[in-house]
């Protein structure tokens, strides 16, 4: 379970998260929508400790992410993250990209790490690209590579930060399909996304962010239905249609 409790985040004078509460249970898929700059990415960074928080607490399986004694590197293994930019390691082949962390972080043998990597590359449909360098992969393939790389650490949770926003339109589908597959397999996911139909299909709940506040959270029928509870949600959804 991921528990976000009243977190506040400032960048200097800029108050980016203004008291966010969110609990995500095992197996749940929560999509986060909202205008650019509303603090969605920052929320994910605060959940896996890539950004510090000024107030509040985040717990992952009961362990406080921002507490002093927490082994953050260990905790992050359980929280896969996929970014808008796929950040493939350019000097490594697809297989090596995925096998690197299992090998050096989880201390697997090279053979074991390669097997894990291969399994995850097959999982995301890159079985014919094992020995290819990222420069020879399309954006969509590199993003699936990034997903495989995160999955190879065998995380319980996956955080997606606009995984398809930087892709050419024709490549969005293959990445969304991979994310749908994970959701179907029961992965617990928090997905920041602008793909509304994806959010409607896969979410158990959808959260709408507005200027650092979670204005509304509820099942997709509530958010995307005729009458979301918040006027701002309604305005946002009308504007992007």
């Amino acid at each position: 379970m991921i528990e976000v409790k009243n977190i506040h985040k400032n960048f200097g004078d800029l108050h980016v998260l203004k008291g966010i509460d969110l609990t995500v249970k095992k197996g749940e898929v929560v999509c986060v929508i909202g205008a650019s700059g509303s603090g969605k990415s920052t929320l994910l960074y605060c959940i896996n400790g890539l950004e510090k928080i000024q107030k509040g607490e985040v717990f992952v399986n009961g362990v406080s992410v921002h507490a002093k004694g927490t082994d953050i590197n260990k905790l992050r293994q359980n929280l896969g993250m996929v970014f808008q930019q796929w950040n493939s390691f350019p000097h490594l082949t697809a297989l090596e990209n995925v096998a690197l962390s299992p090998r050096i972080v989880k201390k697997m043998s090279k053979k074991e790490a390669n097997e894990t990597a291969k399994k995850q590359l097959i999982h995301v449909g890159l079985e014919d690209k094992l020995n290819v360098y990222p420069s020879a992969l399309s954006g969509g393939q590199q993003q699936r590579l990034a997903i495989a790389r995160a999955l190879a650490m065998d995380p319980e949770y996956m955080l997606f930060d606009e995984a398809t926003s930087a892709l050419d339109p024709e490549l969005v589908g293959e990445v969304l399909d991979t994310m749908r597959l994970l959701a179907k397999e029961g992965m617990t996911m928090i997905c920041v996304t602008h793909e509304m139909s994806f959010a409607r299909d896969v979410s158990d709940r959808v959260a709408y962010f507005h200027e650092g506040v979670m204005e509304e959270i509820g099942p997709p029928e509530q958010i995307f239905g005729k009458n979301p509870k918040s006027e701002n949600t309604k305005k946002f959804l009308t504007n992007i249609r």
Binding site: L50, Q77, F83, N87, F89, S101
Partner: protein, 222 residues
């Protein structure tokens, strides 16, 4: 007329002079290898410090390194050579020269290294940290190989430059390749042939590095 004069003086340049130059080239090589190796290691540490701390970069270390990069090497050499006896540690020309050349290399490499770390970029590093890598694992397995490829040509440029600049150590009286050439020129009065041989030695010293780096870059490209 001209021709015959040259032939007369050419006899001044003998085979054992080539050996003399070769020995001097060995000293140039030695001073270069030490300076480039130690300077590059120090440069990595300094470059990392510059990158890690804006304060260090703007103040103290950054300023010192800037000084070493901008003051002409020949001035640094003479200053330090005369400075060491003052603080009670008189150094021979070789040690003083190597010391200054090492710090000079470190100052140049520090900047290259900082650029290399910056070239990797924050998003890439967040990716590796999100996979559970520690700061040093990210440094070792992601930042180092990616940054190295980005700035390797710049580092080779520094190394080749330092090898040539090592000739300035001759002002301290150390008989490296350039100094040896000057001595020979005085004796033989045959600057053209002596300098041509010395130039060939410099080329022979740098060529392997150029060749090796081109090979490595080729390998990285594919």
């Amino acid at each position: 007329m001209e021709q015959s004069t040259a032939v007369v003086f050419f006899t001044g340049f003998q085979l054992r002079d080539i050996w003399y130059l070769a020995e001097a080239a060995g000293r140039t090589l030695l001073i270069s290898i030490i300076s480039i190796t130690v300077g590059s290691i120090l440069g990595c540490v300094f470059g990392w410090m510059l990158y890690s701390s804006k304060w260090l970069g703007a103040m103290t270390l950054g300023l010192v390194l800037d000084a070493f990069r901008s003051v002409p090497l020949i001035i640094q050499l003479i200053l330090f050579f005369n400075f060491f006896p003052i603080i009670g540690v008189p150094l021979d020309p070789f040690t003083a020269g190597t010391f200054v050349l090492t710090i000079y290399t470190a100052a140049l490499v520090a900047n290259v290294v900082r650029g290399g770390i910056e070239a990797v970029g924050i998003p890439m590093r967040r990716s590796s940290r999100s996979l559970g890598m520690s700061y040093w694992q990210d440094m070792r397995y992601v930042v180092w190989p990616i940054g190295l490829r980005a700035v390797f040509p710049a580092w080779v440029g520094v190394a080749l430059g330092v090898m040539k600049d090592s000739s300035l150590v001759s002002v301290l009286g150390y008989v490296e390749l350039l100094r040896a050439s000057q001595i020979l020129i005085t004796r033989t009065q045959e600057p053209f042939i002596v300098l041509a041989v010395a130039g060939a030695f410099y080329f022979a010293l740098s060529y392997p590095l150029s060749k090796f780096s081109a090979r490595l870059e080729g390998k990285w490209q594919s």
